[in-house]
């Protein structure tokens, strides 16, 4: 029997054989490319870490959280506003508009920090992806990659970012690295403590002194206190109209 094949059949069958052969051959190659020791799997996916700040419980004049933050994260302080770095800062706001009570209304102390936006402008503009949002929603800086261009400081609508203009010699917590001159930084929710299932230093301190104004937890977990507070209490976030979806909620703002 003569094997007659027209051009169409030849291409069809030839293609099938080729595809099968290449698939079979590539199998061992692909499997040999998988690393022998797999990297540790991240357990952060699905979480959405956030903070609730209860300004009705926050004590005016108290700086415990800010001090604890400096102590834990080696945040630079020179006593000169040109170079000081603040991960947390407290500001006094007073009403100016008529509907807020007008001039001379009661002053309010507000704790300001990185809002850990779901859509962080700082991470969008970072040219080297040093600033990034972790899978659990914490926005942090990989200082190994930071080139010190300071775009993030311009992009951040909350002015939460600071630049290390000078080398910081203070090193109270040697277990946590300090930052050298020339990198930008901001609050990272004490990501190294969160990884150890601990609370951020400011939250822990606020609970320790008995104020309990700061609550930290997973907003996606309906059992957590932050999720409960956000659901039950009247909370505000700063400038929600910007669409950055911050994860720091305020009660009594």
């Amino acid at each position: 029997m003569r094997w007659v094949m027209d051009r169409r059949d030849f291409i069809k069958r030839g293609g099938t054989i080729l595809a099968g052969a290449s698939g079979a051959l590539s199998l061992p190659v692909v499997s040999s490319c998988t690393p022998e020791v797999p990297h540790g799997a991240s357990t952060l996916a699905g979480k959405r870490m956030g903070m609730v700040i209860d300004l009705t419980k926050c004590r005016s004049g108290c700086t415990a959280c800010m001090d604890a933050c400096r102590e834990e994260n080696n945040v630079a302080f020179f006593g000169d506003p040109r170079w000081d770095v603040h991960w947390l800062r407290k500001v006094n706001i007073r009403p100016t508009e008529e509907y807020e009570g007008g001039e001379g209304g009661a002053e309010k102390t507000v704790l300001l920090m990185c809002n850990h936006c779901d859509d962080p402008p700082c991470a969008q503009v970072c040219p080297v992806q040093a600033t990034y949002k972790r899978e659990d929603g914490i926005v942090l800086v990989d200082h190994h990659r930071c080139i010190g261009c300071r775009y993030c400081m311009i992009a951040c609508p909350y002015n939460a970012r600071y630049f290390n203009w000078r080398e910081n010699e203070d090193w109270p917590n040697k277990e946590y690295p300090k930052r050298s001159h020339g990198v930008a930084e901001s609050c990272n929710f004490c990501a190294h403590l969160v990884d150890q299932m601990k609370l951020p230093a400011c939250v822990q301190t606020c609970q320790d002194i008995g104020a309990g104004a700061l609550v930290f937890g997973d907003l996606n977990d309906p059992q957590s206190e932050v999720a409960r507070l956000v659901a039950e209490r009247s909370t505000k976030r700063i400038r929600e109209d910007w669409g950055t979806e911050p994860k720091v909620y305020y009660i009594g703002l």
Binding site: H39, S42, T43, Y132, R134, H143, K174, E175, K178, D195
Partner: protein, 135 residues
């Protein structure tokens, strides 16, 4: 006088010899220098073996000698970007390798590798430092 006239057959040989000597001179100088110094500018690998945990390095010695930089970078990516802690830390190297000058800086200086790890990371070298750092 034209160049072609100056470089006649006899002169050309001299010029070529001079050129070859000039090219080989740095190589010869480095070889002579190496022999004279007995190769002492190549750092010996110095490791403090007093610690009983010496045999329990995170990887084999040969692997660490050639690939420690890649190894540390991998761990760095895991810890910083994924929040996965494998127990290996830069300060943990100092558990056994107490002397940073001898363990890190000596080879890096010889190889002209400039590191800035320790501008931010603490490397405990003595027990006193370790205790005062709370490690």
């Amino acid at each position: 006088m034209k160049l072609s006239t100056a470089l006649n057959r006899e002169n050309r040989g001299v010029a070529a010899t001079v050129l070859v000597i000039l090219i080989l001179l740095p190589l010869a100088a480095s070889i002579v220098g190496f022999v004279v110094r007995g190769g002492r500018d190549v750092p010996e690998v110095f490791l403090e073996k007093a610690d009983p945990r010496w045999d329990a390095c995170v990887r084999e010695t040969e692997y660490m000698r050639f690939y420690h930089m890649d190894f540390l970078k991998e761990i760095r990516e895991d810890v910083v970007r994924s929040g996965v802690k494998g127990g290996v830390t830069l300060a943990g190297c100092g558990d056994c390798h107490r002397n940073r000058d001898q363990f890190c800086d000596r080879c890096h200086q010889a190889a002209s590798v400039n590191l800035d790890c320790f501008g931010c990371h603490f490397y405990p070298e003595t027990d006193a430092e370790r205790i005062s750092a709370g490690m």
